[in-house]
Symmetry: C2
């Protein structure tokens, strides 16, 4: 059989070049393969590369009868129905940790930009408001980060890197995670509620799944308080976006920084029109070195699969 | 004699309230006192509060014949002619370190926003470019911060806090400072040239003065290279803004983040029109806790002065 690999999600060519050097790629441009590729080619697809957040359920798998490996580009695999894959004996791989530093950097950028109100500060200078001595949108000084209580929700590789960075800003750090780690010098909270009650800035780094959908809701946001900020670099599904809009509009919290959204790339207009928000188009892992590391995981997973071996970066 | 204190720079009322509780303030709204206040009041002014960057030379001092103390709000005092003050037996005070953490936070915010291109990323989401699958301005991934060489120019209290924060991002740190500190775990460079040759991101935290005017020039920027970024939270005078515009336009460096400018609040249009720039209106020290700490220094300096004592936070 051939080493035909389907590019399942819409991925720029610049990111798939390294795979094209090694495998025969079939790119359906993000559309279902059976709609755009000949049936005999679809029948030969044994492996696919997907962005972990793209929905990939039992029906999608059944349309690829030869499928034996689902390889996620990045650390996430929340779009993949793991049970359906297991039943069909399809291996699922990802790129654990490869982008953790880059994602943590974006989390810190969004935190600082939200707390120090960069998205109103920059236009105030750029559009001449400062030069013309117009009333400043920054008249009310924000609280300092030093001494601030930062809650990290999810203490995987990304959460740990976020905490290590945040600690350098002279903050207090607490975390909630299913597992409590005795090697970490941070205060542990037994629930997201308890963490939100304690902290002012909530950094979401939890692995997304059915159990985390909309767990950051109106109640959690209220607990952060009027000086509160919520930062999300995990998955959009973790936050109830409607509740977030209401909290930002009503002053329940001070601001938010989001790299991820419920229905990417669509972001509700009532969210993007808010001044106390900073947004990025899911660029957490988008650095040269992250891509190289993630691509190395993808190539290693595919190479092992086609050699009949276990994936080296298999989802547990 | 009365405890009359002139507000010399234009300062918002919200920042001077604590002084008004203790002293009789004369506020000339940033204009020369002799132009807006009665001559007999001007003659009684024994102390003034100024933003350290506001020009305050021998002539200005001579127009305030009773002046005995110049108290800078903040750590900077580069606008004050120290020799002229010494000759006239005028004490000069400031607020050393009171805002160091807050300023370092803004330095990190500007660094992250410049490297990860926040000022094009946010509008790409906000204006619908992402949702409409328009060509992304972020197609070319930037290099990761981890492993990146960061140069800190000036290793005072702010420089140290910048370095401590930057280190958490898994970077390499080098510095240039008049004094070499053996207690610091960072690589020392004997000149700004050598530091710029080595580093990719240059963080300017040097105390401004005649000897640092335009030291970050076309030559230094060229040494940073095409992936280079320059971040300035010190004073605008340190960078040759014309050379910076040319370097950003021509791709000599990748980006810049500026909280300070040569002629504040005026920022050249050819600078603010650039996409690879992030700017803030001199908000480095603008946090609640920083203002409280800076105001405490101002009150302590004025209280000591009017009691006939040496200023506790006197400029050395």
């Amino acid at each position: 059989m051939s080493d035909k690999v389907l590019i399942y999600s819409r991925l720029p060519k610049s990111l798939t070049q390294r795979f094209a050097d090694r495998f025969e790629l079939l790119d359906s441009g993000g559309k279902p393969a059976h709609e755009v590729l000949p049936a005999d080619e679809v029948a030969q697809i044994r492996a696919l590369i997907t962005a972990g957040g793209t929905p990939l359920g039992a029906d999608d798998m059944d349309r690829l009868p030869a499928l034996g490996a689902i390889v996620c580009y990045g650390t996430g695999y929340d779009g993949v129905d793991l049970k359906a894959a297991a039943v069909r004996n399809i291996a699922v791989g990802h790129s654990p940790g490869a982008n953790a530093a880059a994602v943590a950097d974006v989390a810190l950028m969004l935190m600082l930009a939200s707390v120090r109100r960069l998205m109103v500060a920059d236009p105030y200078v750029r559009n001449g408001g400062w030069a013309e001595a117009k009333p400043s949108p920054l008249m009310k000084p924000p609280p300092s980060l030093s001494g601030c209580k930062i809650g990290v929700y999810g203490m995987g590789e990304i959460g740990r890197k976020i905490a290590a960075r945040v600690a350098a800003f002279e903050t207090e750090i607490g975390y909630f995670n299913r597992t409590r780690y005795d090697d970490l010098p941070y205060q542990y909270f037994p629930s997201l509620d308890a963490l939100a009650e304690w902290c002012t800035v909530l950094m979401i780094a939890v692995r997304a799944g059915a159990d985390t959908t909309h767990v950051v809701n109106a109640d959690i946001l209220k607990k952060l308080g009027a000086d509160g900020h919520v930062i999300n670099i995990s998955r959009g599904s973790v936050i109830d976006e409607g509740a977030l809009v209401a909290a930002l509009k009503g002053g329940t919290i001070a601001g938010a920084g989001l790299d991820v959204f419920e229905t990417e790339p669509h972001v509700p207009g009532e969210l993007t029109s808010l001044p106390n928000l900073v947004v990025t188009p899911h660029i957490g892992g988008n650095t040269r070195e992250s891509h190289v590391a993630m691509q190395a995981c993808v190539v290693a997973n595919l190479t092992a699969f086609f050699a009949g071996q276990r994936l080296p970066y298999q989802v547990k």
